[in-house]
Subunit: 663 residues, 2 copies
C-alpha cells in the first residue's frame, strides 16, 4: 500500500472520476436508492450485468469445462444444524466495538487500522511528505472521519504502527482491545474511546417453514452445499478420485459497516471450487507440469509476521519444490488463478498472492493464499485458495453418521498385526446394563500400548478401566466378559476422508478491480476534456460491437439491420447508436462502456458493401467486405487473434478517423 | 386434470420411475439430505445444473438479446419499507389451518382440494371407474394421507365438488373456512376438522446490519428491484419508450407445506421481464404482426367461473381483436412465451394459457394469464404473464417522492382551460400557522366543480372549507388570502406513469415439466427391461456429445483427446465414457442423461480418420471424416439443422448398431 493506484496507462487514478462514470453508465448503482439505500447492497445495471455474465462464462470455461468439474447449484437457505456443525454459528464472526456516546458501531480491526493510518499520514505531513488519502464511499464522507492532523511522531512509534498495520489481520478481539487502550484510539466522531470488542456473527438469520421453530441462515459461502453432496458426487464420478465440484451462486455476510463500494458488500456472487484429493502421496496434481514454469508474485507468512510486505517473484514449480507453497495441487490452482486473471484482463503488475497468517485463517483452513489485486483501496483479496484439509467432511460425517469417505480397493492387501478386543456380549451386557455402550466405547478407544498392558493384567485377573460417568469412574472387567489378543488382520479396502483444496472467487471484487485496471483517460488533440476509456478485453466486454451509421439517412437502415442479425447469429452482442451525435462523440460514449469494436456504415457501404472496423484502444480502422469483417470480429472476441493480427490482414482505413479526431 | 400424464411417446408416465432416474443421475437431489433434508429445498447436480444453464441461456437469447432488453442483477435482500409499500408485507400470504389435535399445519386451499378430490375418486371407484392417483412426494406418503374410499356420492354432490375444484384458486380464507365446515372436511391424519384459515406471510424475514432494528426480507419476486431502478433504466435507454428490463435470479417463498418435488419449492430461480409501456393508445406492440397468426390454447376466466375447464385454440391476433386477451403487448408476450417453450422442447399438446380469476390475481395485477404445462401433478403454472398496470411505480413514487414517470414533449401543446387557485402566502400563512400546509392541501385537492362553486362564494365573502383535523373541521378563507380564477394553461410536456406487462418465468417448474415431456422408455428387442430416455433438444441437453472408444485400447486415445479438444473449442460440451461396459450399455446410460449425440471411435478411425455419429432418438448413425461430423454437430446444437438433414447429407452407417442392439 505504499504506492498509489494508477490507470492502465500509468496515469494517477482518481477513484471519484471512475466511480462517477461507472454509476452514470449504470455499471452498478446502490440498491433501493430511492428509499435512501442500504449499506453494502448494490444492483448491476445492463453493462455491469453483462460484464459479470462474461466473467462468469470465462470462469466456467477456464475451470469447469477445462477440467471436467462437477457443477452443482445448491440453496442459499441453510438450516442451523449444518452451519453449527461446520463451525460458522460459533466462529464466523467479526469483532465490533460500540461508541458509548453516540452508539456508532465500528468494526474493530478497521477502526484500529484507520486511526493508525491517519496518525502516520499526519506524521508524514509534519515531515513534509505528500500524502495520498485512501478513497472511501463518498456518502460516508459526510460523517466526520479520521482526519489527518500534521503531528510528528517518534521514529520508533512510526515503526511500531507500521508493524501493527502489517499484522492487522492477525489480531483477535482481545488483542484489538489492547491496541485501542495502548494507543488510546478514539472515535473521531465523538472523541470517545469505544467499548471493548465483542464478537458479532456475520450470518443473516431467518426461520424456515410456518412454525418459526426451525432456524436457518443465508449461506456465507457455497462450500457447505458441496460438501454435503460429496458422496453423491463421488458416485456420479464413478468413484474416481481426485475430482472437483464447483458452484456459482450468491452468498451473504452481514458486514458490520460496509463502505468500500463493491469491495465489501452484504450479498455477493461467489464461484467456488472444492477439489477433493487423497491426503496421502503429497497431494500431487497430474497437470502440474503444464504450469510449473509460470512466475507468480508471492508474499509469504514469515515476511508479514516480521512486519514487512516485500514480495518475491518465483516460478510456481520452484515454490512447491521449496515448500514455500505446500503442495502441487495448491500450487496448480494458484497458477490457474493467475492465468484466469490474465485472461479476463487483470493487470499482472497489480496482482500478488499473499499467504494468510495463522490467526487470520478461517477456522477450517490449514493453509491459505489469497490472490490480491491492487486498487485505489489498496491490496484487495479477490480469491482465497485454502487447504481445508479433511475438516468439513469429517465434522459432517461425525455429526450425521453419513460415510463421507472414499473406499478404494488396495492393490496389495494390507496386513496389520495388532491387539484386538473381543467382547462376550452375553456376559458383558448384563454386567454393565445401561452403561454397557459407554464402557464398550471406552474399551475400543484404548491405544495399542494400553491394550498390551491390559492383556497382561487380564491374564492374572480383572482389569480396571477408567470410564467417566460410570460408577465411581472406574470399572472392573474379567476374562469371562472380554478377551484381548494379538492377531493379524487383512485389509483389502482402503478408506479415507479426502482433503479439500478450495479456490474461492469473489466475482464482484474481481469485477470492480478489473474496471480499475482497465480504466484510462484519453486526451484529445484539440485540448478537450480527457475522456474515459475502459479497455476490457473483447472476451469480457459487455458489448462487443458498436454499429454506427454515418447519419440517420434511411439508406443505411437495411445494411444496419442485416449486420445486427448476422452478429446476433454469430453470438456476438452489438448495439446500434443511430443518434444524431457526431461519430466521434458516439464512439467516445462507447469507450466509457468498454465496447472494443466499432463498425461504421457509410455511403461506400451502400455502394460496394464494405464496412470499416475500428479498434477502441488504438482508434485505428480497417475496411473490408462484411464477411471478412465478421470473421475478424469472431476471432477477436474468442481471443484467437489480436488487433495487430487483423491490421496485418485487412486494408487500413484512414478516412473517418480524421473526422473523429476533428470533433 | 381429467386425462393422465404420458411420456413423449404416449406411454403412461410413472412419476416414481422418472423421479428415481432423475435422482439417481443427480439431475436434482433434496438439499441437506444427510441432515434429514428440509422441505422445499433442492440442489441441482451436474446434469440438472447444465440443463438449467442451457434453458437460461436460451431464455436470454430469445428474450433479452432478441429485443434489446436491459438486463439487471438486483439483490435478493430487500428492506422492509420497499415490500411494505409494494403491498407484500400485508398481502403476500397464503391461508393456513392448524389441526388442533396434532398441530399439523395445512395450506387451506390444498387441504380442501385434496379431500374433495379423494371423495370424488372414492365415488368413481364405487361406480367402477378406474382411478389414477396423483403422485406426491414419496417421503410424505408415509404420513397417512387422504385415502380413496369407495363411497358413491349423489350426482348433484359430484357436480358441486367439481365446480368447487374448478374455482379453487378463486376462494379467500373465509370462503375456504366455510367450505371446510359445509363439507365437514377432516384431517385424515387425526380425523379432526382443522381450525379456521389464518393468513400466513410467505416472505422469509431477516435483519440487516449489526443493530437488529433494520428488518428486511428475501425478495419473493425480482420485480421490485427492477421497478426501483426505473428512472435510471429509462435514462440509460436514452428516454426511449417502450422498453423492457429483465432479471434472472433467485427468489424465496416460505411455502407452508411444500411437497410436490421441484414444483413447489422455497428457493427458486426466476426470470422476469418488466415491459414498460404507455397506457394510452391501447398498448400496441410494433412486432405484434410477427406473431399474430400463432395459435394458442386458451382457458378464459368466464369458462372457469362457470366451473368448466374447456379450452379453445385460437390465433393470438384473433384473441386480441375480440379482447379475449386485453391488448397487443400482452398478446405478443403470450405468443413469445409459446415460442420459447417450443424452442426448449416442451410438448405443445401439453401447454395452455389460463386466465386468472378475479380473486386469484396478485394484489398488483389487473389481468393475468398463466402458461401452464401438463404433468403427472396436473396443470402446473410455469409462467405468469400479468398486466401490473401502473400499480408498482405509483406506490413507490408516492412513498418516496421519486419521479417514476416518463416525460415526453407533446407534438401539439395541450391547452387546458380550468379553475386555478392562487394562494397569497403572506396572508395565508399567518392565518393558519402550523395548519397552513394541511389547509393548502385540502384546497388543492378540490375538484373543478367545487372550485367553480367556491369562486362564486368567494365573490360574496369568505368561503367555508372542510379540513379534517383543523379546528372544528371547517375553516373560513377570504379574498385577501386566495384567488380562484378560470384560466388557460398550456402544457408542452406530457407526463405519465408507464404500465407494466410482466412475463415471469419459474425456471425450476419449466425444467421439471420439460423433463416429464421429454421422457420415454425404449423397449429392447431382446425383451430386456425398458430403458429410460430423455429426449432433450440438442440446444438444452446437459451434454451434447458422448465420446465412446470401441474399447480401452491405447490406440484410440490420441483421436479421443483431439476430438475432445476440437469440440471444446467449438463450444460444444462433451463427455468421454471409456469404461469397460459395452457400447450399447454406454449409450443407454447416456440416454438417461439426455445426451443427443454419440461418437464412436473404432479401428477404422485409426486407419482413415472417419468417425460415426449416432442420434439418440432414432439410434441411426452416419459416418464421415472429423471435419464433416463436427460441422454436423455444430448445426444440430445451434438448431439450424435436424437429424433428418444430417442423414440426407452424410453416408449412413449400419455397422455398430447391430452390436448395440445385440447386447
Amino acid at each position: 500500500m505504499t504506492s498509489s493506484a494508477t490507470t492502465l496507462k500509468g496515469q494517477p487514478l482518481d477513484k471519484a472520476v471512475l466511480e462517477s462514470i461507472l454509476k452514470r453508465r449504470l455499471f452498478y448503482t446502490p440498491s433501493f436508492e430511492i428509499y435512501g439505500g442500504v449499506g453494502g447492497l448494490y444492483d448491476y445495471g445492463p453493462p455491469g450485468c453483462s460484464l459479470q455474465a462474461n466473467i462468469v462464462d470465462t470462469w466456467r470455461k477456464h475451470f469447469i469445462l477445462e477440467e471436467d468439474m462437477l457443477e452443482v447449484d445448491t440453496t442459499a437457505l441453510t438450516p442451523h444444524d449444518v452451519l453449527k456443525t461446520s463451525g460458522h454459528v460459533d466462529k464466523f464472526a467479526d469483532w465490533m466495538c460500540k461508541d458509548p456516546k453516540n452508539g456508532d458501531i465500528l468494526r474493530a480491526d478497521h477502526f484500529v487500522e484507520a486511526i493508525l493510518e491517519a496518525r502516520l499520514n499526519g506524521d508524514k505531513e509534519a515531515r513534509g511528505v505528500k500524502v495520498e488519502e485512501k478513497e472511501e464511499d463518498p456518502k460516508k464522507k459526510k460523517k466526520k472521519k479520521a482526519k489527518t492532523e500534521a503531528v510528528k511522531l517518534d521514529d520508533a512509534v512510526v515503526q511500531e504502527y507500521e508493524e501493527v498495520l502489517a499484522r492487522i489481520d492477525n489480531y483477535g478481539g482481545p488483542e484489538l482491545g489492547e491496541l485501542i487502550k495502548k494507543y488510546d484510539l478514539k472515535n473521531p466522531a465523538t472523541g470517545v474511546r469505544p467499548s471493548d470488542p465483542v464478537s458479532f456473527n456475520l450470518m443473516f438469520q431467518t426461520s424456515i417453514g410456518p412454525s418459526s421453530n426451525y432456524p436457518g441462515y443465508l449461506r456465507p459461502e457455497t462450500a457447505q452445499g458441496q460438501f454435503l453432496n460429496f458422496a453423491k458426487l463421488l458416485e456420479f464420478n464413478q468413484s474416481q478420485m481426485p475430482f472437483a465440484s464447483a458452484c456459482i451462486g450468491k452468498s451473504y455476510r452481514n458486514e458490520i459497516s460496509p463502505r468500500a463500494g463493491l469491495l465489501r458488500v452484504r450479498e455477493f456472487l461467489m464461484a467456488e471450487i472444492e477439489h477433493f484429493v487423497d491426503p496421502e502421496g503429497g497431494k500431487k496434481h497430474t497437470r502440474f507440469h503444464e504450469v510449473e514454469d509460470l512466475e507468480l508474485v508471492l508474499l509469504d507468512r514469515d515476511t508479514q509476521l516480521a512486519g514487512k510486505t516485500e514480495t518475491k517473484k518465483i516460478k510456481i514449480g520452484e515454490a512447491v519444490k521449496t515448500r514455500l507453497v505446500d503442495n502441487e495441487t495448491l500450487g496448480y490452482f494458484l497458477a490457474r488463478i493467475h492465468l484466469f486473471m490474465r485472461r479476463i484482463g487483470v493487470d499482472e503488475s497489480k496482482m500478488r498472492f499473499r499467504q494468510h497468517m495463522a490467526n487470520e485463517m478461517a477456522h477450517y483452513a490449514t493453509d491459505c493464499w489469497d490472490c490480491e489485486l491492487f486498487t485505489t483501496s489498496g491490496w484487495i483479496e479477490c480469491v482465497g485458495c485454502a487447504d481445508r484439509s479433511a475438516y468439513d467432511l469429517t465434522v459432517h460425517a461425525n455429526k450425521t453418521g453419513a460415510p463421507l469417505v472414499v473406499r478404494e480397493r488396495r492393490e496389495e492387501p494390507l496386513v496389520i498385526e495388532e491387539w484386538q478386543i473381543d467382547i462376550e456380549k452375553k456376559k458383558f451386557g448384563p454386567l454393565f446394563k445401561k452403561d454397557a455402550k459407554t464402557v464398550e466405547s471406552a474399551l475400543l478407544a484404548t491405544s495399542q500400548e494400553q491394550r498390551e498392558q491390559l492383556a497382561k493384567e487380564l491374564e492374572t485377573g480383572n482389569i480396571s478401566l477408567d470410564v467417566a460417568g460410570v460408577g465411581d469412574g472406574k470399572v472392573q472387567i474379567g476374562k469371562d466378559a472380554i478377551a484381548i489378543e494379538f492377531r493379524k488382520r487383512v485389509e483389502n479396502t482402503r478408506e479415507y476422508t479426502p482433503n479439500v483444496i478450495e479456490p474461492s472467487f469473489g466475482i464482484g471484487r474481481i469485477l470492480y478491480s478489473l474496471m480499475e485496471h482497465c480504466f484510462w483517460t484519453r486526451g484529445t488533440e484539440g485540448g478537450d476534456e480527457a475522456r474515459g476509456v475502459l479497455s476490457f478485453p473483447p472476451t469480457v466486454a459487455p458489448t462487443k460491437v458498436l454499429l454506427v451509421p454515418l447519419s440517420s439517412n434511411d439508406k443505411f437502415r437495411p445494411a444496419l439491420k442485416k449486420l445486427s442479425q448476422r452478429l446476433r447469429t454469430a453470438g456476438v452482442s452489438s448495439r446500434v447508436d443511430d443518434s444524431s451525435a457526431s461519430i466521434g462523440k458516439r464512439y467516445s460514449r462507447n469507450d466509457e462502456l468498454g465496447t472494443p469494436l466499432g463498425i461504421t456504415i457509410d455511403f461506400q457501404t451502400v455502394q460496394d458493401g464494405t464496412i470499416t472496423l475500428r479498434d477502441r484502444d488504438s482508434t485505428t480502422q480497417v475496411r473490408a467486405d462484411e464477411d471478412k469483417i465478421i470473421e475478424a470480429i469472431k476471432s477477436l472476441v474468442d481471443g484467437s487473434k489480436t488487433w495487430a493480427d487483423i491490421e496485418a490482414e485487412l486494408p487500413k482505413f484512414e478516412g473517418q478517423e480524421v473526422e473523429v479526431v476533428s470533433r
